[in-house]
Symmetry: C2
Subunit: 300 residues, 2 copies
C-alpha cells in the first residue's frame, strides 16, 4: 500500500540559543514523507522553486519516495525563518516567504487518483478540498490544519472535516476549533463535525486519540536531547499514516500502534536539525524505542 501526501516542501532557517542553520530542508511534506517512508511507499504532491537543491531530491529518491507530483515552478522555494527560545517551545516566526507556494494549486497526477491512503498536510482548506475532488474513492483520509485557517477559513475547513476520516492537530488547535478549553468536550464537538478519529498531539506530553471506541493515550519518551522541535508534528503524522497504511486495516489496535509509532519517529526528529536524524533512522532503532514507549506505561 502507498500513501499520498499533499503539502509543502520548504527551505527553513532556524535559530536556537545553541546553534543556527540556514536554508535546510523543511516543510510538512518533507517530514511527513521521510517518516512515512520508514513503513510504506510514499507519493508526494508539492511545489518547489528553481533553487530547490538536487541533494534533497536525491534524499527523497534514496528512500523510495515518489516525486512525480512535485512541480518545479519558476521562482524561489517556500522559505520559513524561525527562532526558538531556551525552552525550545513555540518558535517566533521571523519571516515567511511563500514564493512559489503562493500559487500552489495541487494537481494530482492521473495515476495517483486511485490512492486509498491520503494525508492533507496543513495547507489552505480550499486546496485540501481541491485535492479531495481529485482522488476517486480513498479508504482513509487524514488532515492537519492550523489556527490561521481555523480563524480565517472556517467554512472551507468545516467542509474538509465533513470529508476526512482523521483529524491530526495539537492542543491549542483543537481548543480553537471547538471554541472550548476542556479537551474532552472539545474532542466531542470536533468528532461531531465529521472525522471518526481525532488525534491530539501534545509534544513532550504525548498524544491522545479520540474515537467512538473511547480514548487512547500514548506517552512521549522523556528525551535526553532536544535540538530542534521543527517538524515533530508532521513527522508524527507521517509515522502514524505510514504505519497504518502498511497494515491496510481498520483494526483499532493498529491505529493505537500507529499513534505510538508516530510519537516514536517524532522523538527522533527533534534530536537534530531539519530531517537529519530522520534521514539516517533505521527501522531497528524504531522498534527498540517502540518497546521502550510501551514499557513506560506498563505496570510490571
Amino acid at each position: 500500500m502507498s500513501v499520498l501526501v499533499v503539502g509543502s516542501l520548504a527551505l527553513d532557517s532556524i535559530e536556537t540559543p545553541f546553534k543556527s542553520v540556514q536554508d535546510v530542508l523543511g516543510g510538512s511534506a518533507s517530514y511527513f514523507s521521510l517518516a512515512a517512508s520508514l513503513f510504506t511507499n510514499v507519493k508526494v504532491v508539492a511545489v518547489v522553486g528553481e533553487d530547490f537543491p538536487d541533494e534533497y531530491i536525491e534524499l527523497f529518491r534514496s528512500k523510495g519516495i515518489e516525486l512525480e507530483g512535485v512541480k518545479r515552478a519558476p521562482g524561489k522555494t517556500f522559505r520559513w525563518h524561525g527562532r526558538y527560545g531556551y525552552d525550545l517551545g513555540d518558535p517566533a516566526t521571523l519571516g515567511t516567504f511563500l514564493n512559489v507556494f503562493e500559487k500552489f494549486d495541487p494537481m494530482i497526477p492521473e495515476n495517483y487518483r486511485e490512492m486509498e491512503y491520503v494525508f492533507l498536510a496543513n495547507i489552505d482548506p480550499q486546496l485540501q478540498l481541491n485535492v479531495l475532488n481529485q482522488v476517486k474513492k480513498p479508504k482513509l483520509v487524514a488532515c492537519d490544519t492550523m489556527n490561521y485557517w481555523i480563524e480565517n477559513k472556517p467554512n472551507e475547513l468545516k467542509e474538509v472535516l465533513r470529508h476526512v476520516n482523521i483529524l491530526i492537530v495539537n492542543d491549542s488547535e483543537i481548543r480553537a476549533l471547538a471554541k472550548e478549553p476542556r479537551i474532552l468536550r472539545a474532542a466531542r464537538t470536533v468528532l461531531d463535525m465529521g472525522p471518526e478519529i481525532l488525534i491530539v498531539k501534545r509534544g513532550e506530553y504525548g498524544a491522545l486519540m479520540f474515537s467512538k471506541e473511547g480514548i487512547f493515550w500514548a506517552p512521549s519518551y522523556p528525551l535526553e536531547e532536544i535540538v530542534d522541535p521543527t517538524g515533530a508534528g508532521d513527522t508524527f503524522a507521517g509515522g502514524f499514516m505510514g504505519y497504518v497504511t502498511s497494515q491496510n486495516t481498520a483494526d483499532s489496535v493498529e491505529f493505537k500502534k500507529g499513534v505510538i509509532y508516530g510519537s516514536v519517529v517524532a522523538s527522533f526528529t527533534v534530536e537534530d536539525f531539519s530531517v537529519k536524524r530522520l534521514a539516517s533512522l533505521q527501522i531497528e532503532e524504531i522498534s527498540t524505542r517502540f518497546q521502550a514507549f510501551l514499557k513506560l506505561s506498563n505496570l510490571d
Copy 2:
C-alpha cells in the same frame, strides 16, 4: 499501617470565572489526609487558629483521621485567597495570610515518633528537618516543596533531600531545583541529591516517576468537568502515600499503582471546590476510574 502528614490546614477563598467560594477548607494537610484516608489510617500534625470551624474537625474525624498533633493556637487560621482565569491554570495569589501558621514549629506527639510512613508537605525546609529529627526510624519519607523554598532556602532543602526517599513535585519545580530545562537530565540531577524516587506531577498531562529502575508514565484521565484545581497536587500525594502505606511493601509495581491511584483521586478533587468531592468519594468510584486509567494506555 498509618501515614503521618505534617503540613498546613487553611481556609481558602477561591475565585473562578464561573463561581467563587469563601473560607472553605484548604491547605496541604487537608487534601493529603482526606485522600490518604481512603486507603489507610492518617495522623496529622498541623496548627489551626481559634476560628477553625468545628465542622471541618468533624469531617476529619468522620474519616478516621487522627488529630492529636493538630494544635489550636491563639489567633486566626492560615488563609489563602486565589483567583483562576478561564483556562483554570495557575492561579493568581490575591492574598496569603499566614496568621498562626507563621510560628508553626511542628511538634510530633510522642506516640507518633515511631511512624514508618511520613509525608512532609510543602512547608519551610527547616521545619521539614525539624520533623525528620523527631521521627525515629521511618521506613519511607516523601516530601513536597515549591519554587519559593528552592530559591530562598536551597541549603536547608538540599539537607532535606539527603534524608527523604521520595520527592513529589511539579514540572516547573523540578526544572528550577535542577537548574535544567530538560526533564530527563533534571530528574537525574535531583536523584543524585538524595531521593531514590522522584515523582513529577504534570496536571492534565499525568505524572512521571523516575527511579534507578527506569521511568514510569501515568496518564491523566481527560475530565468532563474541572471546577477548582486547588489541592490537586496534595491530593495526588495523599492518594499515592495512602495506597503505598496500605500495601507496606517496597515493590515497584505497588509504587506504580500508587502513582495511578494518586492521579485518580486528584482527578476527583478538581471536580468541585475545596475538599467537597474528596469528602464524598467512595472506594468503588476510585476502583472504576483506576480501571479506566489503565485502559487509557492499553493497546487492546
